[in-house]
């Protein structure tokens, strides 16, 4: 369907975006790779020296590295599952004719409006705090022992907070996609008496395949870099530190630019690996 004319025009249309992003990628990336090979501490400027792979060695042999890796993957995986499944269900629900649909939509999308730092503070102190939090009050009203989220199940607590923030994103994209579901197909299915479950699995879900893939890929990129919620709630630690948090510790606590750069490159490598697997699994939905 692409004529030769549209082929050239197509390339021109994409060119500015590609050029801009290429610059944005290559300059910081280049500098980061260069810094990662130096012994460069911000608090000791002017004393940089070439250090080869020393920073990488230190970063990868950090005893916290493997637990951070595991936490990163657990966080991303759990939030993806919650938001995609929840997003589909919510999109279906909000697609129905209901009274006050606009308001309900706004309520569901609202968590995305709040700054992550503020979300984390509100959840940690006003909702999840075992003494004065809202959840504690509810549990005490039922005679149960309140959960000390950040002592007993810290990663779960953080997963909840992050999932709450990202659910609107998935819902919004999936809802917009559902809107474009062919009206005629829907009416035909109704008239044929197709059971709703079958309708869902055979018509709605395939239609949503591409948007779901987009949601998963975009969310993964963001979730791999979750940081504020961890810093605010637990301040890190074996149970909750993830890879970006380790890089942060290098960059803004140690002010070790060399180490932080190495950590950043390691994180990029990890992200590429994750993306590779994701694309293998669901990437074909992109062209469907």
């Amino acid at each position: 369907m692409a004529t030769r004319q549209t082929g050239i025009v197509g390339r021109l249309a994409v060119a500015p975006s590609v050029a801009a992003l290429f610059l944005w990628m290559i300059v910081p990336l280049g500098m980061t790779i260069w810094f990662s090979l130096l012994r460069y501490n911000l608090l000791d400027p002017g004393n940089e020296s070439f250090a080869g792979l020393m920073n990488y060695r230190y970063f990868l042999t950090d005893p916290a590295f493997f637990s951070a890796l595991a936490n990163t993957l657990k966080l991303v995986g759990a939030v993806l599952v919650i938001t995609v499944v929840g997003g589909v269900l919510l999109a279906l629900l909000l697609d129905q004719p209901i009274f006050g649909r606009g308001i309900v939509r706004l309520m569901v999308i609202a968590p995305f409006f709040v700054m992550p730092t503020v979300s984390a503070l509100v959840w940690k102190n006003m909702l999840m705090h075992p003494v004065s939090g809202f959840f504690a009050w509810i549990m005490k009203s039922f005679g149960l022992q309140p959960i000390d989220w950040f002592a007993d199940a810290p990663l779960t607590g953080i997963i909840l907070i992050v999932a709450w923030q990202w659910l609107p994103f998935a819902t919004l994209i999936l809802l917009t996609a559902i809107q474009s579901l062919d009206e005629e197909q829907k009416e035909a299915a109704e008239m044929d008496g197709t059971p709703p479950l079958s309708y869902f699995f055979h018509i709605v879900l395939p239609h949503l395949a591409r948007p779901m893939t987009v949601v998963i890929l975009i969310e993964t990129i963001f979730l791999l870099n979750v940081f504020a919620e961890i810093a605010v709630t637990t301040g890190g630690g074996a149970q909750t530190s993830n890879l970006p948090f380790l890089v942060y510790a290098q960059a803004l606590l140690q002010f070790d630019v060399g180490g932080a750069s190495a950590g950043g490159i390691v994180a990029v490598v990890l992200a590429n690996i994750v993306a590779f697997f994701l694309v293998r699994m669901i990437g074909r939905n992109l062209d469907a």
């Binding site: 075992p130 074996a238 002010f255």
Partner: protein, 438 residues
């Protein structure tokens, strides 16, 4: 119509030209969002009236963000700030690097000898003052007089840890949501580690020996950590391992803590009837000790400094002088009462009868500050300065890592021995990488 337009244009040009006639130096001030600084921001008019050629631009941020921004900026010479708010941690390090301007132009009636000696020592390098203290603090015990009475105990002015632990256990009523003692547990070099380092000093422990070898494998640190974890398990609130200063303040003000050992500045918060439900039931005591010669109190002063290489050092020093002068203290007293004056900087404040009357915690604060010695913080000799921190650049990272291990021990995720071993390994690793340990 044309005349109106030309007239208006002329007026605008006139205004533009005349306003630029008074060349204004704009000072960008980076500061923490603590109450005393916010108050200072509100009193800007007093300074700008006396100095019409200087305008002030305030950048107020929470402590962690501020520290990151200010450090990044000064290390890269970004030049974004003209006056910095930094603490007794940064000053020794940055002064030694030549990043700060020595404050020798603070004005004739500044009276630098009036500054409390411990604080002045913490802010000087090779005899010169590099930052002017805005407010100073130590740590002390704040306790509920009514709960102590109910438990049949009387708090001495200078308690021992044994007494405090016993009192805490006696005051605890978990079913009634009263917890004998609230202490910091959240991981962070300035959070739980500030408290634990200062406490460890009173147990005879130290971070490093003279050859920079970490000391977590020694009995003193084990005693400290065991004492801390067991005390909080028996007498502390749930969620202790993620409670920092603010969470404990909220708990104390809601009446849930029998004792709270934390910064002396908290005293004005817990006795303020507007914010505290127990304002009239609070007593104060020095931070506890074990009879080894060092008490568990720390020393900190938020101070104003001027970055080296700034083009505006003269205006900046004028501002620094104004904000930390005796005149400023009187200004705050006149506008908001003596109880709200920034504490812990000048001897003259503590000799002022009006201040002592308005602030029942004043004497305890002064004694705490005076008994802290950053140059000799521990029982055994050490190669570093700093009471609740080690004034080396690597400490932020190391302190936070160790803080995470200790917080996990408190949460029950790790045994005390494992936490100490992990702390020892991590610290040794970092110190070797940084070149302290050969």
């Amino acid at each position: 119509m044309k005349r109106v337009i030309y007239g208006a244009l002329g007026a605008v040009m006139f205004a533009a030209l005349t306003s630029t006639a008074i060349a204004q130096t704009k000072l960008t001030i980076a500061t923490v969002n603590n109450g005393d600084m916010i108050r200072m921001q509100g009193l800007t008019a007093d300074f700008t009236e006396k100095n019409p050629d200087i305008s002030l631009e305030w950048v107020t941020l929470e402590e962690n963000v501020l520290r990151q921004k200010v450090t990044t900026d000064i290390a890269t010479k970004g030049g974004q700030f003209d006056v910095l708010t930094i603490g007794t941690y940064e000053v020794p390090i940055w002064a030694a690097k030549g990043w700060l301007v020595p404050l020798d132009n603070l004005g004739a009636d500044y009276d630098v000898d009036d500054l409390l000696p411990a604080i002045r020592a913490g802010l000087s390098h090779e005899g010169k003052l590099y930052a002017a203290p805005f407010y100073g603090e130590s740590s002390m015990v704040m306790y509920r007089t009514d709960l102590m009475e109910k438990a049949g105990l009387k708090m001495p002015d200078a308690p021992t840890w044994e007494f405090v632990a016993d009192a805490a256990r006696k005051m605890t009523d978990k079913a009634g949501e009263t917890y004998g003692v609230c202490l910091r547990g959240k991981a962070g070099w300035g959070e739980n580690m500030a408290f634990l380092t200062a406490t460890a000093n009173s147990f005879g422990a130290r971070w490093f020996d003279e050859s920079w070898k970490p000391q977590f494998d020694q009995p003193e640190w084990k005693n400290t950590l065991e004492f801390y974890v067991n005390l909080l398990k028996d007498a502390g609130p749930p969620g202790a391992s993620s409670n920092g200063f603010n969470e404990n303040l909220a708990l104390f003000n809601a009446g849930k803590c029998g004792m709270w050992i934390d910064a002396t500045v908290a005293a004005s918060f817990v006795t303020n009837p507007k914010d505290s439900s127990v304002a009239d039931k609070v007593g104060f005591a020095l931070a506890p000790d074990n009879g080894l010669g060092k008490r568990g109190n720390w020393l900190w002063a938020w101070s104003l400094a001027v970055p080296a290489g700034s083009q505006k050092t003269e205006a900046a020093q004028k501002f620094v002088s104004w904000a930390t002068s005796k005149g400023y203290l009187e200004l705050v007293a006149a506008k908001e009462g003596w109880a709200n004056v920034p504490p812990g900087t000048r001897t003259s404040l503590y000799e002022n009868p009006e201040y002592l009357k308005a602030a029942p915690f004043a004497k305890m604060t002064l004694d705490s500050i005076n008994s802290a010695d950053p140059t000799h913080p521990t029982v055994k000799p050490v190669p570093y300065v700093g009471v609740q921190f080690v004034a080396i650049p690597e400490f932020q990272g190391i302190g936070t890592t160790v803080g995470q291990f200790f917080s996990a021990a408190l949460a029950g995720d790790s045994s005390i021995d494992d936490a100490l071993a992990a702390a020892q390994d991590a610290t040794t690793r970092e110190m070797t990488k940084a070149g302290y340990i050969k």
